[in-house]
C-alpha cells in the first residue's frame, strides 16, 4: 500500500478517490484547463488526455541541430551553385536583405559535398550522411522551410514557441498541456543537451512561458544528477530517505485531517512521486543496460555526454511513455571564422557525430514498432547562405556560410508522416523557396495536427487573449501526412 493510500485510509476515509483527483489540481487555474474542455473533476494537470481528433502520433522526438546546419551540404543538391563558385554575388540577391555577419558584396560558395540519390524514393543526400542515406524512404523532406529570424536565439524561440520573443510556452509544454503524460514516474517533457553549449535562448526554448510550470521541459543530464536535485545527499541511504518522506507525509496527513486543505493531499502525492522518480529516472537514463548490438547501432559509450547517447536515451524515454523529448545538439553555426565552425572542419565532425545515431534511432524505433506513432523532427533554427562568409576579409583555410532564413531543409519521419517524399523546392542556388514553402508556423500546425490537435483550438488565456503555439498563423502541410 502506498503512503498516499495509507494516509487516505487512516485519516480520510470519507474522501473518495474521485474527490482526491478533483482537488488535486486546485492550484492550477481552472480556467485554463476548462479551455481544453477539461472539467475540474479531471483537473490533474498531467493526467493523460484525448486530443481534438484521433492522433497519428502519440509522442515526439525533436532533434534540434542548434546553430543552423547548411542544407546545401546535406540535402539540397545545387549543381548550378558549384558552377558559380567564387563568382561575385549579384546585387539582386542582396537588395533589401539583412545578414548577421555578411557585409558588402560576398562571393558565391559551391556545395562542399558530393551528392547521390538514395532509396526507392531517390532522395538526394550528401556524402556526409552515409547512414541516414539508407533511411530516406522513411523520411519526408521539407526543402523550402523559411523563418522570420536570422539570429540564433529569436529563431530558436520561433521554432519552439511560435514567437521570437521570450515568454511564450514551448512546443513540448503545449503538447504536455494538451496530452498529459503516460508515465507519472518520469517527467512528461524531457530535454537532452549535447555539443558543449546550451541553446542560445537558454531554458526559455523549453520553458512553459505563461503555462503552469508543471509543463516546462525538465533537463536530464548524463553527468551529475540526471535531474537537478534528484540524488539524495551523501550520507542519506535510500531507507532513510524513505523514512523521511514517510514522516513528512504522515505529518502532512495529520495536518490535512485538522485543516482540511486538499492541496495538502496533492503535496503528499508529489513527495511520493518524487521518491519514485528517484528510482525511475536513473533507471531510464542508464543506457548501460542496453545490449552490445544496440551500442554498436548507435555508436554509444555509456557515461559520456554525447548526441549518440541522447538519441538512445530518447528511445528509452519514449518507450517508457515520455511525451516529448527535445534534443539540442550545438555546433552547426558554420561561419568559417575558425576550425570549429568551418564547413570543412567542425561541420564534418557534427555530421559524423549525428549521422549514425539518427539513422539508428529511426531503425531502432521501427524494429520496436514505435516509429508508427512516434514523430521525429530534424532541423535547425534556420539555414545558411549560398554565399561564402568571409568575415576577416583575408585568406583563411576555413570556409563557411552566414545565417539564412529564406530557404532550408528540415525533415519529418514516423508517426503519421508519409515516408520517402520530398515536399517543396528551392531555386537553382538554394537561396529562396520556389514551391511548397513551409513557414515555421505551418510546421507547428502540422506537428499539432499529427498529434490530434487543431492548432487553432489548442489555446491558453493570457493577458486578455487566447494564445496558441502558431500565434495568428499556420497552415497544416497536408502533403506530408500519410
Amino acid at each position: 500500500m502506498t503512503l498516499v493510500r495509507e494516509a487516505q485510509h487512516a485519516y480520510l476515509g470519507h474522501v473518495t478517490r474521485r474527490h482526491f483527483l478533483r482537488t488535486a489540481g486546485t492550484g492550477l487555474g481552472a480556467v485554463a484547463l476548462a479551455s481544453l474542455g477539461i472539467k475540474s473533476a479531471q483537473a490533474d494537470p498531467l493526467a493523460p488526455r484525448q486530443p481534438h481528433f484521433a492522433p497519428r502520433a502519440k509522442r515526439v522526438i525533436f532533434l534540434h541541430m542548434a546553430g543552423g546546419p547548411s542544407s546545401l551540404e546535406l540535402f539540397d543538391y545545387k549543381p548550378d551553385l558549384a558552377r558559380l563558385d567564387g563568382a561575385r554575388c549579384p546585387d539582386s540577391l542582396l537588395e533589401g536583405k539583412r545578414f548577421a555577419f555578411i557585409r558588402g558584396v560576398p562571393k558565391m560558395l559551391g556545395p562542399q559535398a558530393t551528392f547521390k540519390q538514395h532509396g526507392e524514393s531517390g532522395a538526394w543526400v550528401s556524402n556526409h550522411l552515409p547512414h541516414l542515406a539508407q533511411t530516406v524512404d522513411r523520411i519526408a523532406f521539407l526543402k523550402a522551410m523559411h523563418t522570420d529570424e536570422f539570429n540564433h536565439a529569436p529563431a530558436q524561440l520561433l521554432v519552439h514557441s511560435g514567437s521570437p520573443r521570450l515568454g511564450r510556452p514551448s512546443m513540448g509544454a503545449w503538447v504536455t498541456y494538451g496530452l498529459g503524460t503516460e508515465n507519472a514516474n518520469l517527467p512528461a517533457f524531457v530535454v537532452l543537451l549535447s555539443g558543449g553549449a546550451a541553446p542560445d535562448a537558454g531554458a526559455s526554448v523549453y520553458g512553459s512561458g505563461f503555462l503552469p510550470t508543471v509543463y516546462q521541459g525538465v533537463q536530464c543530464r548524463s553527468k551529475g544528477d540526471p535531474v537537478l536535485f534528484l540524488n539524495d545527499p551523501e550520507g542519506i541511504p535510500r531507507d532513510l530517505r524513505r523514512a523521511s518522506i514517510r514522516a513528512i507525509n504522515r505529518i502532512n496527513a495529520q495536518q490535512h485531517a485538522e485543516v482540511g486543505d486538499p492541496e495538502i493531499l496533492t503535496r503528499i502525492a508529489q513527495y511520493e512521486m518524487a521518491f519514485r522518480m528517484q528510482t525511475s529516472v536513473p533507471e531510464a537514463m542508464d543506457i548501460g543496460q542496453e545490449p552490445a548490438y544496440i551500442h554498436e547501432l548507435y555508436g554509444t559509450v555509456p557515461g559520456e555526454t554525447a548526441f549518440s547517447n541522447n538519441c538512445l536515451l530518447a528511445r528509452r524515454l519514449v518507450e517508457r511513455g515520455v511525451r516529448f523529448v527535445q534534443l539540442f545538439h550545438w555546433g552547426w553555426d558554420s561561419h568559417g571564422a575558425g576550425a570549429s565552425e568551418a564547413l570543412n572542419d567542425g561541420f564534418l565532425k557534427r555530421c559524423k557525430e549525428t549521422d549514425r545515431p539518427v539513422a539508428a534511432l529511426l531503425k531502432d524505433l521501427e524494429q520496436r514498432g514505435l516509429l508508427d506513432d512516434t514523430l521525429i523532427i530534424w532541423g535547425g533554427e534556420f539555414g545558411r547562405t549560398p554565399m561564402l562568409e568571409n568575415r576577416s576579409g583575408t585568406d583563411n583555410p576555413f570556409v563557411g556560410r552566414d545565417h539564412h532564413s529564406d530557404a532550408y531543409t528540415m525533415w519529418l519521419a514516423g508517426g503519421g508522416v508519409k515516408g520517402g517524399i520530398t515536399h517543396g523546392a528551392t531555386d537553382p542556388i538554394g537561396y529562396s523557396g520556389i514551391s511548397g514553402q513551409v513557414h515555421i508556423h505551418d510546421l507547428q500546425a502540422t506537428i499539432l495536427d499529427l498529434l490530434g490537435f487543431d492548432h487553432l483550438r489548442l489555446t491558453y488565456p493570457f493577458q486578455g487573449r487566447d494564445f496558441r503555439l502558431t500565434d495568428v498563423h499556420g497552415e497544416v502541410v497536408r502533403e506530408v501526412l500519410a
Binding site: 470519507h14 486546485t26 492550484g27 492550477l28 494537470p45 539583412r98 548577421a100 555577419f101 536570422f150 539570429n151 540564433h152 536565439a153 521570450l166 515568454g167 558543449g196 553549449a197 542560445d200 535562448a201 537558454g202 531554458a203 526559455s204 503552469p212 510550470t213 508543471v214 516546462q216 525538465v218 544528477d225 535531474v227 537537478l228 536535485f229 534528484l230 540524488n231 539524495d232 545527499p233 551523501e234 550520507g235 542519506i236 541511504p237 531507507d239 532513510l240 523514512a243 523521511s244 514522516a247 513528512i248 505529518i251 502532512n252 495529520q254 485543516v259 482540511g260 486543505d261 486538499p262 508529489q270 513527495y271 512521486m273 518524487a274 522518480m277 550545438w330 493577458q463 486578455g464 487573449r465
Partner: protein
C-alpha cells in the same frame, strides 16, 4: 435626494413597467460572445463594430443601422438574429441566439439601447456600509462588506485563527519571514498587543524587502538584458530604490509618478532618476545584425503594455495590432499612448545609454563637472557639424550658380533644408534625406576641430566611467528638436506606418486634464488623478491578493469585460476610495487595515461544507491558506536555521547553484558563487538572469521576468519535493537548524520540538512529534551503525539524526504554506 437613492427609485419605477434589461449584465455578454469576433475591434465585417454605441447606431455597409434606439423592428440587428434563412441569419457561426436572448435584445432596443460603461471604467464612489446582523464581528469597515455577503448566503465566518498561527501569518505577510518563538510568546501571552506587533512589522526594514519582491515581478526587474546573449545589466539601484520606497511608505501616487516620469519632475533628485529605471528593465538586444530601431520599438511597446497592466489592469497589448477585441479601445489610441513613451533617448544601445553615474563624496564635484562638460561638447559638436555642412553646401552651390541674384535665395533654401533634415529624427528621414545627411557627416568627419571635440567627448565619457564604474540606465526625454513623430503601426508592425498621432489617453476613460503636460509626467499624473477609475482599484486589489491569495477581481491583470467580475464590488470600491482619499495612497495604512480586519484573522481551516460550497474561498468565510512564494520559501529555510544574512541593498549575489548551468554559446561568463554571508542573503538579492534563472526558485514558480507579470500561478510538483529534500542549500539549512536545535534545548525530544517551533512558530502536536521521533530514532541508529555516513550530515550521530528530522520539518506542507 441622494443620487444613489434617486437612481434606485428610477430603477424600481422602470422595473415595474417592463422587466429591466441591464446592458452590462444582459446585453454585453451576448455581444461579446456571439457578435464581436466578426463585428468588433479585430474584424469589422460589414463595416460594423459593436463595441461602440456610436458605431452600432451608424449606417453599416448595408446602408442600414444595426440598432435604431426605441425601434426594435427597424433595427437590422434584430432582423438578422431572428431571420429564418440560415444564409442571412446571424451569427453565421454556431447556433442561433435563443428566443430569450432575442427578446432581451428587443427590450433593450425598445428601452432606447442604453450603453452603460463597463463598471471598471466608471470612477468608484464610496459605497454605504451594508447592514449586518452580527454587529460584534467586524473590526474594520471592510469586514461589514464581507459579513453582509456571508449572511446573505447564510454562512458563518470562521472563528479566529489560533494566536501562533496568526502571528506567523501576519509576519510572513508583512515582512516575508517567519515569526520567532519570542515574537509568538510576546503576542500570545499578552505582553504585546496584536496591533502593536503589526506596527513593529510595518516599521521593520524587512518590510520593504518583502514588498519589493512583489513589485519586481511587475517591473520585470532582472540583472541581465535578455535576448540571445542575455549579458549582465547593472540596474540593482532601482531594486534598492523600490525597497527603500516601500520602507519609507512613499505614497503610491508619488511612487507612480517617480517611476514613470521622475526625470520630468522639476530638478529631479538622484533617487527620482533612479526610479525611472522602472522602464529601463525592458530587454536590450546586443546580437549582430539587429535593427536597433526594431528593438527600441519593442521596448516602447513593452512600456505601454506594462503601464496598462500595472496601473490600469487592462490588457492593452491586444491593441498593438488592432482594436481591442472586447473593450472600447481603438487601435489608434494605442499609439496615442505609445507617443508618451516614444521620445526617450534610449535606443537599444549596447551600453544602455543614457545612464546615471554614481559619484561619492570625493568624486561628486569632478563628476558633475565632467557631466556638464560632456553635455556642452555634445551640443557644440552638433552645432558645428550643422554649420559646417551648411557652409560647405553653400560654397558648392555658389560655385555652381554664379549669379548673385539667386545666390541669396538658394543659400537660404539650402540652409533651411540641411537644418530641417538634421533636426528630423533619424527614423523619419527618407532615402534622399539620409543620403544628404550621410554626405554631410562623411565630410565633417575629416574636420579637425570636430575631431578634437569628439576625441574630448569620448575622453570625458571615459573619465566619467572611471570615476563611476557603476552606471544605472535611466529614462531621459529627447530635446524638443529631436522628438520623434508617432505613427499608428498597421497590424502592429513598426515597418508599416499608418497615420501620425499625438500623445493622448483613450476616450473610454476620463480625459487628460487641460492643464496637464502632454508628456509622460502628465500621463503619470493622469493615472493617479481622482478621476481615474482604475488605478486605486487595481492597486488595492493587488495588495489584497497578496494577503488573501485571490484578488477581489481574480484577474489582477484584466479588469475589462473579459476579466472576472469582482466577488465583492462594493468592498473593492470601499477599499479603493479609502486608499486614495482617507489613506492618501499610504500602502502601510492599507495593509494595516487589511491585517487587523476580522476577515483576515479568521482561521484557515476548511470544513467539508465550505470545501463543497466555496472551494476557492471567494466568499471569505475563512482565512487564507496557500503556498509561499519561491523567495519566501528560500528565505524561511535560511531564517529559521539561523543562516540568513540581514544585509540589505547592493549588487546581486550568487548563492550556490549546481555547476554547468551557465553555458551560453556566446557569453563565457560563469556563475561566481558568492563568499561569506552573501551566500545567505534574502532571495530578493539573487542574481536574476532571464534565460538561465536560479533553478530552485523557478521550480517554485518564480517568473523569468521577460515581461510584467501580475499573478504567479502556484503549482505543486515532485520537482519541488526534490529541491526541498536535496538541494544543497536546503541540506545545509537543515544541518544548521539541527545545530540550533541542539544548543537551544536539552534531550532529543525537546530538541525536535524546538526545531518544529522555530520552523512553524508553534509547538508540534503529540502525533507529529511522535513521527519526528521515529524518524530521528531510525536515523540515529543508522548513523551509529554507519559512522562513515554521519560526517556529511552532522558532526555526531545525534546531530546527523537531528538534521534528518530538521530536513523533514522544512519539507512539511505547513512550512511552505502560509496558514
Amino acid at each position: 435626494m441622494h443620487r444613489a437613492a434617486l437612481l434606485l427609485l428610477i430603477a424600481t419605477l422602470v422595473a415595474s413597467c417592463s422587466p429591466r434589461v441591464d446592458f452590462n449584465a444582459d446585453i454585453r455578454p451576448i455581444l461579446n460572445e456571439r457578435c464581436v469576433d466578426c463585428h468588433g475591434g479585430i474584424r469589422r465585417q460589414g463595416d460594423l463594430n459593436l463595441l461602440f454605441r456610436s458605431e452600432a447606431l451608424a449606417e453599416a455597409e448595408s446602408g442600414l443601422p444595426a440598432v435604431v434606439p426605441g425601434k426594435p423592428n427597424a433595427s437590422e440587428l434584430i432582423r438578422r438574429v431572428s431571420h429564418g434563412n440560415p444564409e442571412v441569419r446571424m451569427p453565421q457561426e454556431g447556433h442561433a441566439l435563443s428566443k430569450g436572448e432575442v427578446r432581451m435584445l428587443r427590450q433593450w432596443i425598445r428601452a432606447g439601447a442604453p450603453w452603460d460603461a463597463h463598471w471598471a471604467y466608471v470612477a468608484p464612489e464610496r459605497p454605504a456600509l451594508p447592514a449586518i446582523k452580527q454587529s460584534e464581528w467586524p473590526q474594520q469597515d471592510l469586514d461589514r462588506f464581507v459579513l453582509a455577503k456571508l449572511e446573505d448566503q447564510a454562512l458563518e465566518p470562521s472563528p479566529p485563527a489560533a494566536c501562533p498561527t496568526l502571528v506567523r501569518r501576519v509576519t510572513l505577510d508583512l515582512i516575508g519571514l517567519a515569526a520567532t518563538p519570542d515574537d509568538v510568546a510576546s503576542v500570545c501571552e499578552g505582553v504585546t498587543t496584536y496591533e502593536a506587533y503589526v506596527e513593529k512589522l510595518l516599521d521593520s526594514p524587512h518590510y520593504g524587502e518583502r514588498w519589493a519582491a512583489m513589485w519586481l515581478d511587475l517591473a520585470r526587474y532582472a540583472d541581465s538584458k535578455g535576448y540571445e546573449k542575455d549579458i549582465g545589466r547593472t540596474i540593482w539601484r532601482y531594486r534598492d530604490w523600490v525597497v527603500d520606497a516601500f520602507n519609507a511608505d512613499m505614497p503610491f501616487d508619488q511612487f507612480t509618478v517617480e517611476q514613470l516620469a521622475g526625470d520630468l519632475l522639476p530638478a529631479p533628485t538622484e533617487d527620482q532618476l533612479i526610479a525611472t529605471a522602472f522602464n529601463r528593465n525592458t530587454m536590450t538586444n546586443t546580437e549582430g545584425g539587429t535593427d536597433d530601431e526594431e528593438f527600441r520599438v519593442a521596448a516602447v511597446v513593452d512600456r505601454v503594455n506594462t503601464t496598462w497592466e500595472v496601473w490600469q489592469g487592462t490588457s492593452f497589448a491586444c491593441v498593438q495590432c488592432h482594436g481591442h477585441p472586447y473593450d472600447p479601445f481603438r487601435h489608434a489610441e494605442y499609439y496615442q499612448f505609445f507617443a508618451f513613451f516614444n521620445n526617450t533617448v534610449d535606443r537599444d544601445y549596447d551600453d544602455e545609454y543614457p545612464t546615471l553615474p554614481r559619484f561619492d563624496a570625493e568624486t561628486t564635484a569632478a563628476g558633475t563637472a565632467l557631466m556638464e562638460e560632456w553635455e556642452r561638447l555634445d551640443q557644440e559638436i552638433l552645432r558645428i557639424a550643422l554649420e559646417d555642412s551648411i557652409a560647405r553646401a553653400r560654397r558648392e552651390w555658389e560655385a555652381l550658380l554664379d549669379r548673385p541674384e539667386v545666390i541669396g535665395r538658394v543659400r537660404n533654401m539650402l540652409q533651411n533644408e540641411v537644418r530641417r533634415v538634421a533636426l528630423t529624427p533619424e527614423i523619419e528621414r527618407d532615402a534622399a534625406q539620409q543620403t544628404l545627411i550621410a554626405s554631410v557627416y562623411a565630410d565633417i568627419s575629416t574636420d579637425s576641430r570636430l575631431e578634437i571635440l569628439r576625441k574630448r567627448r569620448s575622453e570625458v565619457r571615459q573619465e566619467i566611467n572611471v570615476l563611476s564604474p557603476l552606471q544605472t540606465p535611466i529614462m531621459r526625454e529627447l530635446p524638443q528638436h529631436k522628438q520623434r513623430k508617432t505613427y499608428v503601426f498597421e497590424r502592429g508592425s513598426f515597418l508599416t506606418r499608418g497615420k501620425a498621432v499625438t500623445a493622448g489617453t483613450p476616450q473610454a476613460l476620463p480625459p487628460l486634464p487641460d492643464s496637464a503636460p502632454r508628456n509622460r509626467l502628465g500621463m503619470a499624473q493622469w493615472l493617479v488623478s481622482e478621476e481615474n477609475p482604475l488605478t486605486a482599484r487595481v492597486t488595492v486589489n493587488r495588495f489584497w491578493e497578496q494577503l488573501f491569495g485571490t484578488g477581489i477581481v481574480e484577474s489582477l491583470e484584466d479588469f475589462g469585460t473579459q476579466g472576472y467580475a469582482p466577488s465583492h464590488p462594493d468592498l473593492l470600491d470601499h477599499l479603493a476610495v479609502t486608499f486614495r482619499e482617507d489613506q492618501a495612497w499610504s500602502v502601510k495604512d492599507l495593509l494595516r487595515t487589511l491585517v487587523t480586519s476580522a476577515t483576515y484573522q479568521q482561521s484557515s481551516h476548511i470544513t467539508p461544507l465550505l470545501l463543497e460550497l466555496d472551494p476557492y474561498n471567494r466568499l471569505l468565510a475563512r482565512g487564507p491558506r496557500f503556498r509561499l512564494t519561491a523567495e519566501q520559501i528560500r528565505d524561511q529555510a535560511l531564517f529559521v536555521s539561523g543562516l540568513l544574512s540581514t544585509r540589505m541593498h547592493g549588487p546581486p549575489v550568487m548563492p550556490p547553484q549546481p555547476e554547468g548551468l551557465w553555458n551560453n554559446p556566446y557569453d563565457s561568463r560563469q556563475w561566481q558563487t558568492s563568499e561569506g554571508e552573501d551566500r545567505y542573503r534574502r532571495a530578493l538579492y539573487t542574481y536574476w538572469r532571464r534565460t538561465i534563472p536560479y533553478p530552485s526558485m523557478v521550480t517554485f514558480d518564480s517568473p523569468t521576468r521577460e515581461f510584467c507579470l501580475s499573478r504567479r500561478l502556484r503549482t505543486n510538483t515532485p520537482l519541488q519535493a526534490l529541491v526541498g529534500l536535496n538541494d544543497p542549500v536546503y541540506v545545509e539549512a537543515a544541518q544548521a537548524l539541527a545545530r540550533r536545535m541542539e544548543t537551544r534545548a536539552e534531550g532529543a525530544q525537546e530538541q525536535l520540538a524546538e526545531g518544529y517551533r522555530l520552523a512553524l512558530s508553534r509547538a508540534p502536536a503529540p502525533a507529529a512529534l511522535a513521527e519526528l521521533t521515529a524518524l530521528y530514532d531510525k536515523a540515529l541508529a543508522h548513523y551509529e551503525n554507519s559512522p562513515e555516513d554521519a560526517p556529511t550530515m552532522g558532526s555526531t550521530a545525534h546531530q546527523a539524526a537531528l538534521a534528518m528530522a530538521a530536513s523533514a520539518i522544512m519539507n512539511l506542507d505547513s512550512f511552505v504554506t502560509k496558514e
